[in-house]
Amino acid sequence: MNPACPPDDQLLALATDEPGSDAVCEHIDQCADCRMRVKLLRGEIAELRSLSGPHTVSLPKTVIAGSPTASLPSGTAIDRYHIVGDLGSGGQADVYRVIDPELHRDLVLKLSHRQSAEGDQFRDALLAEARLLAGLDHPGLVRVFNVGLYEGRPYLVLDHVPGRNLEQTFTGKSTSVREAARLIAEVARVVAYAHRHGVVHGDITPRNILIDSQNHPRLIDFGLSKFENAWGESRGPRGGTPEFLPPEIVADAGLPPNSGPAGDVFGLGATLYWLLAGQPPFAASTALGAIARARRCDIDFDALKRSGVPARVERICRQALAAHPHDRPTAEALADALERASRSWITRRRAFGGLATILAIVALFSIWSEITEQPPPPPASVVHSIPKLTIDGTRNISNVVPLRTGDRIAVSCNISQGEQAIMVWFNAAGQLKQFSPVRDVAANIDRMVYPAPHEEIPLTAPEGTDMIFFCRGQPISESDLNACFPVGDPPPPLPAHNYLELLRGEVTLQGPHDKLASRSEFNPAETMMKNINRSLMKHFQSVTGIAFPHRRADESD
């Protein structure tokens, strides 16, 4: 450190994401040592924040119902589970993607916002219920592996099922009646299994049914909606989703607060109706409107006729959606009826093609590049402003790595008007491919996208490590471009849950740090990326890039 270097307190502003003085910023731009010091300070602060504050070893637990909690950073350990991604936060619980280092398996952890004290009856009931769930084992359920308390907050550990829910899968798309009947029959079997074990779901909607990679439905959030105060997302009065609510739930007083088995059957019928008619049974523009319709059990069954649903299937749907709980069939009987209907119907309409697309997580890939001509701000203040790979347009790449063959990807890069950029994909086999992204002037962001606005391309074999670069500037000749890459040399492997980001000449490891990834695991890939960047910068104004692990669709992490 030379005498011109500022003391720690002057670097602290940058390390905590506040603007530093001009002199310090100017110095930082010139001084690699000080950049390293800022990085170390950041590391220390992150460590202090993750290990101190409310998360203490000896502090007595206090009840803070529904208190807002900051989401935990990747790498945080919740007991033996390591957070590798933030899957979002519901009204009452945070959902993380975690790995269990002992089992090397991908899991989902739901951490309740509600902190509770020892001896809290609510907590005991919650844990007891969760343990009951952990005892359920059916291929149509998402397995509950563990239940516990973290800093007084109950958590659940569930199987990670990559897939999309029915709502994401079928919104705006037509389903064949046969496919709808098959899906609901399968879910009804799962529900019947749970009912036999004394567990009621309480909120069956298209959102709570996932389609897994084998195209089978999985019922999620099972039985937990009963404890919506701890786990669920409040989506309406007394939980439940208004447009799918059984009438008895919204009827006037004198009814139990929670839906019984017949309520689940109604949910199955409502989901079937949604698949067939393309709208929820109590579709309305407001939640109150939906509730008003639910109260009257005002369902437009003609919509089924208009959609060409066979009378037999319509009848089954009507029975499941009966206004009075005791008029509805059991889940088992509903499954039987649907299966009989599809069998008889297949023999008559053999030509009807089923929708059997294998659905994978849609990953929208977004790389941003510098768009201004001004000198870059100091590194410390930009780190948080870089959106990364997103899933469904909102989530972070750390939730989706490792990407898998078949995952769908869209790449985008912010750019100034009139500027050009090329996209270069250096795939896992060390092959180079150049793409021309399309300009997408959406909202107030001018950006280049690939393959096209609102479109994605599937990730294809080979598997390994893929690198994608966005290079801003005039296109260069193929031979010049080839010379920038170690063509034929596959990029070195990356840890499953990490990725590398290249921004403004710096390559940084993203995802869980230190604890899960040792330097030697990503060093070779990092070096390759740096070398490529160095070569590309001879031709382009700026280069941004990303290197991510890419696995086979059926490969476990």
């Binding site: 590391g43 220390e44 460590e47 202090l48 101190s52 070893v57």
Partner: protein, 195 residues
């Protein structure tokens, strides 16, 4: 540093130093309780297991060689705790599934072994002790600057307005306490920086 944690452990080895022992106990007991609870031992039994650990620590410390290697005491203490836990589990037979799994899982404890949960709890506890120590010996305004800016991430300008110092002073105070905490952590062989 006259009173490093290294010297605390040296003092604990001298079994007559009851002040050192009390301090040692105060620092490590909550950690041990949290850890054995984490391993599935009931609250009621945890006190027994921890008692057992401490009774082993007294003679074991005599043979412990403190050196400057990071995390050395952490893994040593883990080993003592684990052996105590495993023995306790064996003594209790196979009454409880968690204990049974525990005994089956770790018949022999290797020199280099440790576990992530322990490391996390240990570091958390040391940081807690260190932070509390620094807080207790700091002027409230200085502490408010550090806590607000570093731990809570609140805007420096806001903290400056509340405490009546300049924004610069907020950073100077925060930086000073950060460096004290860094030193204290070092004295436990647990550098603040994880890299």
């Amino acid at each position: 540093m006259p009173d490093t944690r290294v010297s605390l452990i040296e003092r604990v080895r001298n079994q007559d130093d009851s002040v050192a022992w009390a301090e040692f106990f105060a620092i490590y007991r909550p950690l041990l309780v949290a850890y054995v609870r984490h391993r599935g031992v009931s609250e009621h039994d945890a006190a027994d297991v921890v008692q057992e650990v401490f009774s082993r620590l007294v003679p074991a410390l005599a043979n412990f060689q403190f050196d400057q290697q990071r995390g050395r005491f952490r893994s040593w203490l883990w080993r003592v705790t684990h052996n105590a836990l495993a023995d306790w589990g064996r003594r209790r037979g196979t009454r409880d599934r968690a204990e049974r799994a525990w005994v089956d899982q770790r018949p022999v404890v290797e020199e280099s072994e440790s576990d992530v949960a322990w490391d996390e709890l240990y570091r958390r506890r040391i940081l807690e002790v260190v932070t509390e120590r620094v807080r207790a010996t700091t002027q409230p305004v200085t502490w408010a600057c550090f806590e607000g800016r570093i731990l809570a991430g609140r805007p420096a300008a806001q903290i400056a307005a509340e405490t009546g110092v300049s924004v610069n002073a907020v950073y100077v105070n925060a930086s000073r306490l950060l460096s004290r905490i860094r030193e204290e952590c070092e004295s436990f062989q647990e550098p603040l920086s994880v890299s």
